[in-house]
Amino acid sequence: MNIQVNEPHIVHETIDGETILMDLRSGNYFSIEKSGAVIWEILIQTANVDTLIQKAGELSNPGQSAQVRSDIQNFVEKLLSEDLIREAERNEAPEITEEMLNSLKRAVTAMEALEVNKYSDMQEMLLLDPIHDVDEKGWPEPKKNNDKE
C-alpha cells in the first residue's frame, strides 16, 4: 500500500527528533518521538508501507523481526485511524535510499514503543504557559504535580 500525508489538512514538521503534526480541521495536535519520528520521515518519503515494513524487519536485531514488523504495522494503522495519512492515489513509490536505510537500521535496532501522542484539548494547551507551567521537555507537557513549587 502507498500512503501520503493527508494534506492540506494535516501539517507536520520534524524538530530535533520529534515530529509534530496538526489537524487543522479538528485542532488536534500530535507528537511522535524518537524511532517513531525516523519511521515517519522515511514513510512519508518512500510512501510504500510494505517495503518499509519488509526493510525494517530485515534490519532489526536477530529474533525481533516479527515484533518490529508488527509494531510498524500498528503504527501505520494508528496514523491512518487518526487521518494523519491516507492511501495514495499514485501507485509508484520512490526507492528507499542508502541514507534512509541507515536511519531505519538505527531506529529499529533501538526501537521503543511507537507512540502517536494526541493532544485534543486545545483550550488546555493554550492555557499552559510555555515558560512556567511545563516540565523539562517543554510545552505541551505540563509540569508534574511534584515539580510544582
Binding site: P8, V11, E13, I15, D16, E18, I20, M22, L24, G27, Y29, M125, P130, I131, H132, V134, D135, E136, K137, G138, W139, P140, E141
Partner: protein, 370 residues
Amino acid sequence: MKIKPLSQSPFPNTAQNRLLKAALFDRDEALIYWEEWKSTVDFEEEVDHGSYRLLPLVYQRLYKQGYEDELSGRLKGIYKRSWMENQQIFHHVSEILKLFSAFDIPSIVMKGIPLSFIVYQNVATRPMSDADILVPHVKSGDAVQILKNEGYIPANEAILEHDLEFGRGMGFEDASGRELDLHWRAMPDSIKNSKESDFWDWAVPIEIKGVTAQRFSFTDELLQTVVHGMRKNPEPPIRWVADAFLLVENHGEEIHWERLLNYAQRYKVIIQLQEGLSYLVNEFHVDIPEDVQNKLHHCSPGYAERVVYRHAQRIGDNRKKVSFPERVYTFYARFLRQSADTNIFRMHIDFLKYSITRVIKKYSQTDGLR
C-alpha cells in the same frame, strides 16, 4: 534632523538588544549575546512579551544547530507552540482569502504572514497573534460585509463608518476568538497624498495554503515594517528590528531605495525612516546604502510629521488607559497624520472644522472623540 528617542520609545532596551543580537547575528557572536542575555535576565520573571516572541528564532538559530542548556526543552516548547498557532492562523487566513477571492476582492496579506513565508521561511520563528489583510479602499465596504456575514464582529462598530472613510482598518473577531485585522489603507499617514494604486502596483503573488493572494514588494514591506515598528506599544514592538534586519539581509538587492524614500516623503514618515534605519545601521550593522542614509539625513520633516512622530513615541498604539489630555492629543495627532497640507494655518482651520463635525456627531449619535 535628528530626534532623540524618548525613554519610553519603541527602541529595544539593553536586554532586548542582546536578545535580538542572539537571534540575528552569526552563531559565534550570537552565542556571546545569548549567554549575556541569560546571565542578566531572570528567565522565570523578566521575559516581556516582545522578548518572548523572539525565542522561537533563537531556538531555530542556536538550539536547532546543536546548542544545549537547561532551557533547551522550554525553548523547543515555545517554538512548537508558535508553530501550532501560526499554522492555525495560516489556515484561518486562507479561508478568508478564498472568500474574498470568490467575491472578486483582491487581497494583500500583510506583516507576519508574508514575513514568515518569504523572509523567515519558517512557520514557527515569527510568532503572530492575528492575520492582517489589506483590500482596496473601494472594496472595503464589501469586505466588511463578507466578514460580518461570516460571523465576525468589528472591534468598534460605532466608529466603523467613520473609519471606512478616514481610517486605516479595523480588527474583527469571530465567536471562536479568531482575530483578523482588515485594512483598507496600507498606511494611515497622509491619506490625501495617497493613491489607490500605491503599494498595489508592486504587489507580488503569494500562495497561502493553496490560496493565491498578494504580498507587498520587499521595498514596501521594509517601509511598512519600520514605520509600524516606530510606535510605542504596550507589547514591546522590538520585533520590527528582526523583521527589518532579515528583510535587508535576505532581500537587500531587491529593495528599491528610491521608491522607499519617495514613499516616505509622500506619506510623511521620514522621521520614522530616519530613526529606524539609523538604529539598524548603528546597532545591527544593517547594510543600508550610504547615499540613502545621506538623502534621509538631508530631508526636513514638517510640523505635522514631528507631531505625529512624537505622539507615536509618547502614546502609540493599543494603550488601554488614556487620560483626557492624551485623548485630545491623539485626536489632534491622528488628524495631522491624515492631513496632506503643509500650511500650518490652513491645517489648523481644517482641524477646527473637523473637530466641530466630530463633536456634533458625538452628540447626535453614540459616537465619541477618538
